[in-house]
Every structure is written in C-alpha cells, then in structure tokens.
C-alpha cells in the first residue's frame, strides 16, 4: 500500500519527511490550483467574520425600507438575498469558518484516535491486536450516515457533537492502515536495535515508528477533513445540523425547504459551488499525496 522512504533515526525528521512527501502537490498543475483554493478558503475562514459585511442572520432592507426578500444579485445585494431577507454573500462567507472548524476538528480527532489504536495494535500484535481489530471490524459494520443521524438525534446537534460523531465513525480506516504499516515497520532493523538498546515500547512506538507514519497520517488527515465537511453539510442539509450556526448545508436546507429552488438560483448556486470547490480541492490534494506515495514505492526507494 502506502510505502514511502523509511527514515530510521528520530522524530525530529518528521518535518523533512512531511516536506519530501508534500512538495509534489506544488509541482502538479491541478495540485497548485487546489492548494491555492484551500489557501483562499482558510484565509476567508479566518478573516470572514471580521469583514465589514452584515451578520449571517441579519435582515437586509432595500433602499425603500422594505425587507429584501429573494432579491436577485445586484449592486446593492451582491449574490442576492434569501427568503427571509438574509444576504447570501454574508451567509456564504460566514460558512467558511463553520466548515473549516468542523473539518479540522474532526480530522484531528479521527487521526488521533485512529493512529493510536493502529499503532498499539500493530506494534504489540497478539491479543491486543485481536481485541483492537475486532473493535475496528465492528466499527466497519456500522452504516455511517444512519449511525450519525441516530447519534445526533440522541446527543443533540452542534458543531462539537458533529465533529465527535465523525471521529467516532471514521477512526476505523485510519486505525487499519496505521496497523498494517506498524506491523511491517516493527520488523525492521532500526526497531530491533532500538529494542536491543533498551528503548521502552512507548518510546519505540512514538519516537521511532510514528515519524515514519507521517505521510500516511497526512493523507488521512486531508481525507478526514473532507469527510468532516461533507458530513456536516449533509447533516445540515437534512435538517439535523446546528440551526444557530450558518453553513452551506444549512443554506441549502433552507432554500430547499422554502420551495424557492427555481426562482432563487443564486441562493442554490453559491453555497453549492463553494462547497463543491472545497471538496474537490481537498480530493485533488489527497489523491496527489496518495499517488506520490505509491509512485515512490514503485520507484524502489
């Protein structure tokens, strides 16, 4: 599977491994584009709420003092307004932060849980492995969206709940891949010599093995961000998102529920496009990283 150069000495190399691994994304035409898009998204996510624009749930008024309901895009209302008179532009911009927060938060949780379980399982093997992988198999048996819906119904909706639910369901794939990598790594010379030199298991796992897993963790980190963003959008769209936090999914939920799908094209197109572009860019980056990992394996490194 994923098989990149093995660095044996220390955790301080993690950064170099990451760079070795990451730079092909910047050499690929689509990769460059995707990285630029992601940079812009992060920027808007950070500065968005401080821009001099109305709040996402602020009623806009026309110059004649009426509520600006379903106004098409114009100089006065760039990107138009919604059924209730909110600005589509303002809602879209505020949603960047929601998506980024959910995505990054869930990715951190997914990777943390998955990598630890995989590492312990693969390194110790035996009974520990059997138990942990049994748990992983069970997690695989759960249908994802239905489970998420049930958990949201029970624990209530909110950004943190959504991130937690994503983590609870997605650690499985990370754990499995980490385990198989750890299994092959632990047979290597540098682990044996570390063991002979008296390193503790914990030190071997986190100091000697973990840096070698950095490329893998990066790939899954990007994938997990994608899953997080998609899940938040989907749950919000079906009406199980956090109703007080604006997001592209919530915007689409509202336009769908209002029955204005045909008339208010600006209200549909804008959040759909931003969401799609985000996911597309993340996919491109993740795929390029994945390709690179397999190519270098074939390159005999």
């Amino acid at each position: 599977m994923i098989n990149v150069k093995k660095y044996s000495d220390s955790a301080s190399r993690a950064r170099r491994i990451a760079w070795d691994f990451f730079h092909p994304v910047f050499e690929d035409r689509w990769g460059k584009f995707a990285i630029t898009v992601l940079g812009v998204y992060v920027l808007i996510g950070i500065v968005g709420p401080y821009l001099p624009i109305p709040g996402p749930f602020e009623y806009l008024q026309t110059s004649s003092g009426q509520y600006a309901q379903l106004e098409p895009p114009s100089a006065e209302f760039p990107l138009g307004t919604t059924y209730l008179g909110y600005g589509v532009l303002s809602q879209t911009i505020h949603s960047f932060r929601t998506s980024l927060t959910v995505g990054v938060l869930s990715a951190v949780l997914v990777v943390t849980i998955g990598v630890n379980i995989g590492l312990v399982s693969g390194y110790y093997g035996g009974k520990v492995d059997t138990v942990l992988m049994g748990l992983t198999d069970m997690a695989y048996g759960l249908p994802f969206y239905p489970m998420a819906i049930i958990l949201i119904a029970i624990f209530g909706s909110g950004l943190y709940t959504i991130a937690a639910v994503i983590a609870l369901l997605f650690w499985r794939s990370v754990a499995r891949v980490t385990r198989s990598e750890a299994l092959s790594l632990r047979e290597r010379e540098f682990v044996k010599s570390a063991k002979a030199a008296g390193s503790s298991d914990v030190k071997i796992m986190y100091y000697h093995l973990l840096p070698n897993l950095v490329p893998l963790i990066l790939i899954y980190f990007v994938f997990a961000i994608t899953w997080g963003i998609l899940l938040e959008a989907s749950l919000s769209f079906i009406g199980l998102g956090d109703p007080d936090t604006v997001s592209w999914g919530l915007m689409l939920h509202e336009v769908f529920g209002s029955g204005e799908l045909t008339r208010a094209w600006w209200w549909v197109v804008v959040p759909s496009f931003t969401l799609w572009l985000f996911i597309w860019s993340l996919y491109v980056v993740a795929r390029t990283l994945e390709d690179n990992a397999t190519v270098s394996a074939k390159g005999g490194a």
Partner: protein, 328 residues
C-alpha cells in the same frame, strides 16, 4: 480444504451473530441514555396522567432496565419493534415498506454501477494515457466530488423545474400510495418518479469502482498470460476481456463496505426527492424523536449491511479458489 472452509463458515456466522447482539445492545443503551423524556412525545398535553401511565406500560418503559433489555432483544429478534410514537401503528408496518422502497432504487443502481464500472473501467484502463482514458476518468471523478444532495438538487432543478420532464418528488401521483410492489414496477409512471433518484445514485457511485477496475486492469496488462494471448493471435478485445475477468475480484470486495455507504447516500437522495424510503423515515423519526421507528430503521439497515458482508465474504471464496480460509 473443506475442513477449513466449514471452519471459515462457522467463524463468519459466529461473528455475524455476535455483531447482531452488539448492535442491539448498542441501540438499547443509546436510546436509554438519550437526554429528555422519551414519553414527552406521547404526552401531547391532552393526555391525563393515567393514560400516560397506560402508554408507558404499553411500551414496557416502566419495567426495570434489565427486564426491558430482555424484552427488547426478544421482540427485536422477532421483528417486533413496538408501536411508533408518531404513527401510532406497529413499527414493522412503517419500516418494511420503506425498506422495500429504498432497495427498489439502491439495488438496481448498485448493480448497474458494477456492470458499467466493470466494462468502462477495463476499457479506459486498457487504453491508459489516451484521450479516452483522460476524459473517461476525469468526468466520473469530478462528479464524485459533488455531494449527493447537490447533485440531486441540480438534476431536480434541470429536469423537473426547468424542463418539466419529470416529477419533482415522491414515488407516484397522489392516490397511488396504496399500490403494491408489482403494480408499481409494471407502471410507467413509477419509472418517471424513480428516474432522478436512480440517476443521482448511479452518477455518484460510478467513479470509485470504475477507477478501481481501471487500476486493476492496468496491473493485469503487464502479466505474462496477457502477452501469451496476444501472441496466440487473439483479437485485442478478447485479450482485454480475459484480463478484465481476472481483475474483477477487488470490485466484489469493494461492494461490501459500499452497501453501508450506499444506505447513507440513499438517505440524502431520498430527502431531496421525497422518496419514502427507510433513510427518509429515519431522518423524520430522528426529528420527531420517534424512538421505536428510529431504532428499528437503524437496526434494519445495519442487519442488511452485515448480511451483505457475510454474503460477499462467502462469494469471494467461491469466485477465487486460491483463497485459503486460514486466519485472516
């Protein structure tokens, strides 16, 4: 060989039963740690305290937890999930027709996805690096990055609202709700209603197995037997077909987790097209806090996913005699 095969069968069946119990227990626990009073739904303000008590007794909610658990498991295994808080009718009567509605879209869509992925993936993989390959993979992969519901909304806007060719949602005209499955499947109107949800599912799922098939056949192309067939003078198409047959196994494995994923995707499609399937029922039950329907819907989906895993595992062994049933 037959010995290890039966051992494998037993092991798979045991783990299936084990998973089933795990799921039921998880559902039981989850719905009891739920904050808020599950009976709040029942007390619509007009109910007196006595009738509320009677209701609780009806649903077995007044007994101690361990007894509730035993009752729950026993009933669940008999397909009895109690009475819906919302519909006030047996959950099974709500769930099973919904499940059938979901499968009516999902099974044909997945089947067609497999077939197209098999053929198209082997064609583009065989012609790797050509224009056909570039566009033939670029388009499905781009579609794949569009979330289900956005793809659904786009199709809905174009084909229903703008062109007016297809209905905007539901499963049939009002009044057709009491049709039987066979009546539906033989009526052309039904297909008009099913067209958009079906297309959405198809377009969304096609990319992954297709790319998988493409990668497999690219690897297969290098093998000696392919060269041998070529040297023997077989038509290139025949050579490709033989290589394709040998690279289809991963496609079958792909199907296993896909059933679970498809149930998830189906939920969004059903919401967009108001298709009265089990996913939409689950969403509605979650919003209404209709505990019995939610847990039954979830359980049904999970069981189907588990069953598929079992069947595919067994089929995998059947299709590839090289597989040993040793420890995996």
């Amino acid at each position: 060989m037959s010995n290890s095969l039966s051992e494998f069968l037993v092991r798979r069946l045991v783990s299936f039963v084990f998973m089933l119990f795990f799921l039921l227990t998880a559902i039981f626990v989850l719905f009891r740690v739920m904050p808020g009073d599950p009976t709040a739904m029942l007390v619509s303000g007009r109910l007196t305290e006595e009738s509320r008590q009677a209701m609780l007794e009806n649903f077995g909610l007044n007994k101690p937890l361990h007894e509730q658990y035993v009752v729950f498991i026993r009933n669940a295994l008999q397909g009895d999930f109690g009475i819906s808080f919302f519909y006030r009718e047996p959950v099974a009567d709500v769930i099973f027709p919904a499940l059938v509605n979901t499968l009516m879209i999902m099974l044909p869509a997945l089947a067609l996805v497999m077939v197209i992925a098999y053929f198209w993936g082997s064609v583009v993989g065989w012609n790797k690096g050509t224009k056909l390959d570039r566009w033939g993979t670029y388009i499905p992969v781009s579609l794949r990055a569009i979330p289900h519901f956005i793809l659904g909304l786009a199709l809905l806007i174009v084909f229903s609202y703008n062109l007016g060719w297809l209905p905007t949602g539901g499963m049939g005209p009002i009044g057709g709700a009491d049709q039987s499955v066979t009546e539906r499947l033989t009526s052309p109107t039904f297909y008009k209603y099913a067209a958009l949800p079906f297309t959405t599912a198809l377009l969304h799922y096609i990319a992954d197995p297709m790319m998988l098939m493409r990668n497999n056949i690219i690897g297969e192309r290098e093998k000696d037997y392919v060269e041998l067939h070529r040297l023997k003078g077989l038509h290139p198409r025949q050579v490709r077909r033989r290589a394709a047959r040998n690279s289809m196994l991963p496609l079958l494995t792909w199907l296993t987790p896909m059933i679970g994923v498809a149930f998830g995707g189906q939920i969004l499609i059903e919401v967009v097209f108001s298709w009265p399937g089990i996913g939409r029922e689950l969403v509605l039950a979650a919003q209404r806090q209709d505990m019995p329907v939610a847990q039954a819907a979830f359980f049904m989906v999970a069981v189907i996913v588990l069953l598929t895993n079992l069947v595919v595992d067994l089929a995998y062994g059947y299709f590839d005699p090289r597989i040993s049933y040793g420890k995996t």
